[in-house]
Structures are given as C-alpha cells and as structure tokens.
Subunit: 349 residues, 2 copies
DNA sequence: TTTAATAATTGGAACGTTCCAATTCAGTCA
DNA sequence: TGACTGAATTGGAACGTTCCAATTATTAAA
C-alpha cells in the first residue's frame, strides 16, 4: 500500500486531473477553477501528501529554497541563543525555516558548516562570526549571489550587510555615567585586542575620555580574555599601577563579574569602593549581588533586524550591503555605586 | 561566465570523463582510478563546484538527506540551548546538519515546524515537545518511517524513542538528603500537574516519603506555574497550612528561586530557616546567593545521547523504540542548610 | 595468441517538481 | 454556423544527481 511516498502524480490520478493542475493548486495559482482546487486539496489531505521541496527547488534552481542558514559562534551563551530566537521569529513567520549551527568559535567548523549549508541550497545566511573570521570566508557565498548578513561582530572588509550594536556609543554612555558620579580615573578592562568589537568599544572609551577631559593614561586600558577569569586578572593589573583607577567600564558582563571577584579578593566591595560597569546585560546581570550596572543590548532585536534585512535582500534579488547599528542603553543598577546616596568617586578624587 | 551553477556535467566535461565517474568520485567509491579521482577533484576545486544535495536526495529518495530536525520548546531557556548544542555536536561530526526551530511552547507552531521539516525531507527528528504534545502529533512522522526521539519530556503513548532525565530518582535523592539533615515535614512545590515531568517528579516525592516514613500530607504538595513567580506563590501557600513544612524540594530551579524570594518576604532565610532543593541545576544556581542546592541534570549530555540514538536508528533503517533515562545527581550547595554546621531541621522537629 | 577475469568507465533512465507552449473547453459575437 | 475569445487544463522537457546494466580497457591464465 505505502509503496513509496505519494507524489503529485498520485494526486493527479486520484483527482482525475493532470499533474500540472495539481502543481498549480500547490502554488495557489488563480488559474485553477475553484471546484478543481477543492477536489485536489481534498485528495491531498486524504492521501497524506507531503510536498517535496527538494524536487521543487531543483527545478526552480534559484534562491527559492525557503531555507535560511544561521550560524552562531556560541549557542550556550544566552546572548546568542536569544539572537537565534529573534531570527527564528521573523524567519518562521515569513515561511522560511532556519538551519541553525553552532561553531564554538572554531573557524574550521564554521567553514564546514557554511559549506554544508551551501550544499543544501540556503537562500541566505545570517552569521554571528567566530573570532578571526575573515572577509575571505564569506567571499564565495557573496560571489555566488547568496545574501549574507553578519550580526553582532563585524567582519572587516566583507561586502556583506551587518547588524551590530552600537558598541562605541555604549561605552561612551558608560564612561559619562561614571564621570557624572564623580569619577576621573576610569579604566577600560578586558577583551581581546584583535577583535572588531574591542576596537569599537575602546574607541568609545577614548572618545568619552577626551570629551570629559580625563587623563589619557594607557595604563588604564588593560586587555584580557573576555571571561570571568580574564576580568579578575585585568582588575588585578589595573590596581597595581601607581595612580589607581576608581572605576572601570568592562569589555562585557563576564569580565565585569570577574572584576567584582577580583575586587572582593582585595577586600574592596564593588559599588561601594570601586564602580563597575559591564556590557551586554546578560540575564544574570540583574540577579547578581550586587546587581550589575551595564550597557543593555537587545540580542533578540538584533536577530529580528538581521532576519528582516536578509529577507529583504532575498526578495529584492540583489541589494546593496547595508549596515545597521542597533542602539544600546545604560541600565543603572548597583555596581556603579549610583544607588547608595553618596557617589564614591567624589570622596576619593 | 557564471551562467548558472556548475554541475557534475561541467566537471565531467572539463575533466574528460563521464558524469557517472564524477558521481562515483563524489561518493568516494573505490571503483575509480586514483589518477582519475585526483584529476576530478582538482577540476572541482578549480571550477568551484558545490554539491547539490537536493538533487542527490531526490534521486535517492530515501532517508539519506543528511538533515536532522531539532525542535525545542524554549531556546531562550539555557537548558534547552545546551540540549541543542549537545545534539549539534554529534550530529555535525556525523556529517549531518541540524534544522533547529523553536516552538515557544506553542503547539500550533510545533505542528507547522514539524510539517515544514518533513517537506524538507529530514531523515530524523529530535523533539523536546511543547507542553501538551500528544502522541497523535507524532503519528504521521512515525508512520512515514521517520525516526523520532523525544527528549526531556515524554510524550505519553507515542511509539517514539525517548531520552529523559531520571526525574523520579532525582526527587528521591533530594528528599532523602533533606531527611538526612533531620527534616520530617518536606513539601513538594511548583509545576503544572498535567505534565509527564510533574508526574514523574511527584512520584519520586511520594516514593521517598513512603520509604522514609514521612507524613503523607497532601497539603504539602502544592502546584503552581513552573516559574519564579509560581515558586513564590507556592511557598506562600505552603507556609499557610497548620503544620508547616521545614523544607521543600521544588519542581525546578526557577520555582526554587521563587521559593527563596517568598521566604525572604516572610523574613525567613533560605538555608538557615528553611531548606530548599531545586531541580535542573541551571547556570545561575551556582552563582545565586545563597547558592542553590539542586538536582543536576546534564542537558548537553541528553542532547548528545538523543542524537546518538537517532543516528543509530537512521542507519539501522528501522529500530525498536528505546527509552533512555539519563541519570542525575544531587549538588549540595547552600540552600539546603547542609553547609552551616547545625542542621536546621532537627532543631525544629 | 586467445580467453577469461577483473578493473574502470559509461550512457540512459529515474527521482518529484515547475515551467512553457500548446490544447481543450465554454461561451460570445457576427 | 463559424470564427473568436478568455479561462482552464495539459503533456513534455528540464533541473542535478544516483543507480543500473552495459561497455571498454587491462591483466592474468591457458
């Protein structure tokens, strides 16, 4: 009975029409008679027909695959999981499906995954690139006319669209907030120097420092792995210099948590003895003790916007590369010391 | 020049062989001469050939699509994100790709997503089912001979394989731990009653209570939404009964956090005045203050196991439904009160 | 040298769909 | 009635691969 999958021809036979007509029904063409359409639909339901997109796609041989690829560098990180969810939302409601893979920051794996997605005929790609991804990695995709949107991290030199958060502005706002609390010696802690995000955030730090007339002391900038351990290490180094900082804006929240750890190890209480500002507003930032003051970015929003942009480019056939920067906002909690009445910076300056 | 995609025929022409030979090379057949193979490979690289899995899949018309579908009920929940990562790991190294979608606990969306995946010809499905998923939802898949593995939550009555954590045993261990600390009045808090997971965990509670000879007081079992807010509500109700509990094992960590909130609202300190045990060991459990004693399950491990099982079934053609229960372990931290020397339960009993 | 066996290679059909050009079918108009 | 319309339907070719049976090239045995 079930001698194979039921095809459009089986439907045609059972409904007493030709396969072409069935095909027309499938695509919702207005050319078919309502009666015929109803009959065909009924038969399809009855026989349990399932559409074979592979075959359709083969014939159409274009970017009509209704698959969009999503590649993220670290799914276990809530930030990127949210991003993927944002993408999925818009992609799904546009009738596409999402091919999601995780690279774990591994460039080789990223290459494999992208290659595999190409073989499957994705009609577009959203990429949150692994560290050190180069424009060359995206070249073949773009050359093949497959729209690509990079998210979160820029890929310098790539002719792809991008949706990133306003890293520069975020740090500017963070620094200004600290300045408004009376701080003058503000450090910038954590992060790998060779990344685009680091560059942007550091640029924000420098710009704000210049505007506020702070000391431009290179000792106040200390890089480290962008992790909790890295943060602890960074604050350690920052406190060992002659003219100590009284506050810091950190590369990201993980670093900020590490900075708090390091502070406590020195019997300094974050928010009271030293002001800390993070970046990202990860989920734990709110519930940590003390709660982390940080720059909030909306990963789900970035995902949604990236997906919208991609869909636009897909339907437009070919579009110009576009760069969207997603705005950020400061969330004041406890670690900056703004909560307790007496701004600590001022007492020390 | 690029008048279309380069096909196996183009390669054949350029390499001076037939398309069949190229195909053989593609599948790594031992039938082709090494020299020929090398030449073909060279030409493929030169012309930038990309394999068209859609076409191949069409011909093979079997479950060789190398796509496996992964559907989770809530990707923003770190637990399920980890699950997906675990799946991705093994699936990727087996040369498959993962089609991942998020249902947000929405049954309709789950149906759509599964249908869409079928159209794309997945060769297997891993499903972390949305609440209230029924066996009927999986019926067509299974009838079509597509292997299905449900993870985390069982779907009662479905003839599919499953990988779930040992919910019953987890609660047993939790209760026994509390008993060993001297507690006799132990509540079971939170969770929706109509779910399989709730049933299993509650069964563990009842079994342990019976074994330990605890009062079988139905008032000690209070359900609620499985969320932080639900937990606060549950403890509130639990503390309002005549003979109050001195400890609780909670449906999950979110509930446990809510219980801690509710306790504090009553000026009771979790771990000192009341013992709390969670379930899941989410990432925040470790860093919360006080740190949460909880039952640790390994979502990534569940993902990996589910994927392995699925791959096994795919390659075996058709396998018996198999049920794997993934073991859990108790992680003793602060909220159970075991840390501070004097077990609180005993002083109150 | 012929024959048999083995190693490589090959053309064509098939997979399930879409598209195109062509056809049939009712009506309508002169 | 016959030519003309527009609407509805249709058969076949095509998409890029794999598989099968058949063919050719190579080597070993007689």
């Amino acid at each position: 009975m079930t001698k194979g999958r039921v095809t459009v021809i089986d439907i045609a036979k059972a409904a007493g029409v030709s396969k072409s007509t069935v095909s027309l029904v499938l695509q919702g063409s207005p050319l078919v008679n309502d009666g015929t359409r109803a009959k065909v639909n009924a038969v399809m339901r009855e026989l349990g027909y399932v559409y074979n997109r592979g075959a359709a796609n083969l014939r159409q041989s274009g970017s009509k695959s209704k698959i969009i690829g999503v590649v993220v560098n670290d799914l276990t990180n809530g930030f990127f999981a949210e991003l993927a969810v944002g993408v999925d939302m818009v992609v799904q409601s546009a009738g596409f499906v999402q091919f999601l893979s995780n690279t774990s920051e591994n460039l080789d794996r990223q290459r494999e995954v992208i290659a595999s997605m190409r073989e499957h005929g994705i009609s577009g790609l959203i990429l949150s690139p692994a560290r050190a991804t180069e424009a060359a990695d995206l070249k073949p995709l773009i050359a093949a006319g497959i729209p690509v949107v990079v998210a979160v991290r820029n890929v310098p030199g790539a002719k792809a669209s991008s949706v990133v958060s306003d890293n520069r502005e975020g740090v500017v706002v963070g620094v200004e907030h600290l300045v408004s609390l009376g701080h003058r010696r503000i450090a910038f802690l954590g992060g790998f120097r060779d990344t685009a995000v680091f560059d942007e955030r550091l640029a924000g730090y420098r710009a704000a420092a210049a505007v506020c007339g702070l000391d431009a002391d290179e000792d106040l900038i200390v890089d480290s792995p962008p992790s909790r351990a890295g943060g602890a290490e960074a604050i350690e180094r920052a406190l060992s210099i002659g003219n100590r900082p009284t506050a810091a804006v950190c590369f990201n929240d993980a670093v900020a948590f590490g900075v708090c750890d390091g502070l406590r190890a020195r019997k300094l209480e974050p928010g009271r003895d030293f002001a800390v500002v993070g970046f990202d507003d990860v989920i734990e930032a709110k519930t940590a003790v003390p709660a982390l003051t940080t720059i909030s970015v909306d990963p789900q929003g970035i995902g949604r916007r990236a997906a919208q942009l991609l869909l636009k480019q897909i339907s437009a056939g070919k579009a110009e590369a576009e760069a969207i920067v997603s705005s950020v906002r400061l969330v004041v909690r406890e670690t900056c010391g703004a909560a307790n009445g007496s701004p600590l910076g001022r007492t020390q300056a």
